[in-house]
Symmetry: C4
Subunit: 232 residues, 4 copies
């Protein structure tokens, strides 16, 4: 059984994080799933980006058990596993501690929709999953983090295929997508949205937010049957 294809993809996607300024040292990880094999490739834990190679990507099954690889996988591996198991249509997950998105997560607030940069990507505020109970933290913490993300979307009646980015309270952002390129793209977009929303509130604490009609318009320019952004 060869896993080279997802190891190569996971390696390339992980290496994008420092290039995009989204990680300091080892504070982030990307995984890429192969649905037919039922496994994903993920960054090894605590290994600096400059020492990564495709072969060092660890292969893990959807219960978070290592299938192949000499190194220990990311300490966040179980969170990735839970999301892949519950969300059949995602192909890749990214976790960073990028500065502005992490600051918002630390405030326990959703990021409001203040402009079209945000609405181009999702029609909702970026949800911030509630803090976990002490029992969840002391129990299977990384598994519970995944469940917290899943349940937060459910409670907000949002679809993981429409909202591909979230904050976890007092922790940091997670993003996902059909492809590793899209999942990494979402992390960079979230960081930019988070910075702009911060500045917007600083300049005008009573900024009115985006009209519903404009939210709908911008999202439909980029998504759905009548979209006209990009090359079809």
């Amino acid at each position: 059984m060869s896993y080279h294809h997802i190891q190569e993809l996971a390696y390339e996607a992980n290496m994008q994080l420092p290039k995009l300024g989204l990680v300091l040292f080892t504070f982030g990880n990307v995984s890429v799933v192969d649905r037919s094999l039922g496994v994903f490739a993920i960054k090894p834990s605590g290994v600096p980006y400059e020492e990564l190679t495709p072969a060092k990507m660890v292969i893990v099954d959807l219960d978070g058990k290592t299938v192949e690889g000499a190194l220990r996988p990311s300490s966040d591996t179980l969170t990735h596993a839970v999301l892949y198991k519950h969300w059949p249509n995602i192909g890749s997950i990214v976790h960073t501690h990028s500065t502005y998105a992490t600051a918002w997560a630390q405030t326990q607030r959703d990021i409001p929709v203040y402009g079209t940069t945000h609405a181009d990507h999702t029609t909702a505020g970026i949800p911030c999953a509630a803090p976990m109970s002490d029992e969840m933290i002391k129990g299977n913490y990384e598994y519970e983090t995944g469940m917290q993300i899943i349940n937060c979307l459910k409670e907000n009646e949002l679809d993981y295929e429409e909202v591909e980015m979230m904050l976890v309270s007092n922790h940091a952002p997670f993003t996902w997508g059909k492809t590793p390129a899209k999942a990494v793209y979402n992390s960079a977009v979230l960081e930019s949205i988070a910075q702009m929303a911060y500045l917007t509130e600083q300049i005008n604490p009573s900024s009115p937010g985006l009209k519903d009609a404009l939210i709908k318009k911008h999202f439909e320019r980029k998504h759905g049957p009548d979209s006209y952004y990009g090359q079809s």
Copy 2:
């Protein structure tokens, strides 16, 4: 009919945006007009900057209809077309989602004149066009965006040849100029002015703004018959 000259200019100007730190991914576009041919060259929609070539620039007429090019033009094309049609003396238009200018747009506030860096470029605050009605948004949105820009200048009794930069509410900045170099320059200047104005209000919320005499002096140093900035 050859459009190479404006395709080359539009390509070069578009490539300046990531170099100046004004765009993330594909969030921006530059167009360059040829008045004698009645067409402009504009970035294709959603194509990453590193994949652009002069030949990929789409040729569009002043009603926004594609004249030449295999790719779909920027989704903001009609906004460019409207501005070229109404403002006979501009040669190029730039649209970005640069961080600080976009944050100001999201607040629906004009950027006040706090210093000479601003007054060197325009004697007025940078206007923020009002939010559109739902009818305008659901209708010909990009056309209406252009009309909103034009009407906002009119209402403020400002001349598009004197004020070459504006914000669109909850959206982002547009700038223009006689040449592509000037239009791109204006986008970078606007971002710098927007950052300084933000910091000014944070440090001193009752900052007094610039005296009229100083606004006039600095603008006239750079513009008009008695200017003495630059090489004549």
Copy 3:
């Protein structure tokens, strides 16, 4: 007696500071101790990073007296000496004037624990040592700075092997570690934590901070007998 080994280590660590964006001009210094020889190597005072060489690192004993070297050692040398003398298990010390950590030091406030990025590194707020009395400042200032750091940790009942970073009121941060790589890492992490905490309070002045259970969990993921972060 050869000191090349610590000179080389100190040189390499000092050169990391400008690469990580932690210093402007000469505003920082790293030292590396050899416990068996009872000396440490430290950056010479006021020499630009681009002119440094391993041979220019000054060798100083734990009372701060120069043992070898043609150049004057860092003006902060006595602070380093005091810390090495009182804390037998540290191998390296870093001092910078990095922007966000220095701003916090200037406020005389501890940095609260707002998120897991912080809790991954220490279970406590980053302490800010109290301002010195005029007598201490006029006396042996750099020695007293070291004592202020040591006493602040004691008063907060914190262990220098668990909390490896601190602020000195109205001055700037100091960090340390068993190795030069760890001490430099701590300076970069502190700067990131300081920036995130600043943004957190700006976005939500009543941000609740991290639950005790989560502080404990994240610290134990990375540290202690049951840690599972990184490669063992």
Copy 4:
């Protein structure tokens, strides 16, 4: 008469400004004086840094009249001339519109002494010269700007050899020094001090500022007969 020596120095110093991130486009200028010849070399007006050469530096006398050079000198030339004429011991002047220092200038506030980074360079707050009267602005504006700087220092009973950096209300910073290297260094230090002071007030609006004893101590570490910073 050859001016190559000051043209070369002025060229080198001007080229440092974009490298240090202190200027956007042409928003800054450095001059270098030769006291024995009674002239200074200054950047030509509005010429991009990448097109500068030593030969393009304009030679001007202390009344601001061009002595040699095909290009028009910086529009701020008269301000430089006034300072050279009144302050016999300075060798170079730098003017930028660096972001944070300019934001402070726009608030019309002095930058308070919040920490040792500031006190290492001057014992006083960074003064912000008062706004000019309309008559001064309409008159010999650049000459009056120089007089405003000189008078502001006098009113604050500060010596231009001790305080080598200032803000001009609603305009931007000026710095100077015995050498071009020192004058450029002062511009970068001022920008850093300005950013830290801004952050300090944001984090804690009632930050207490630096004790007099510590201001004195840090300044004397670097300056005066008992200084022990740097290599003697």
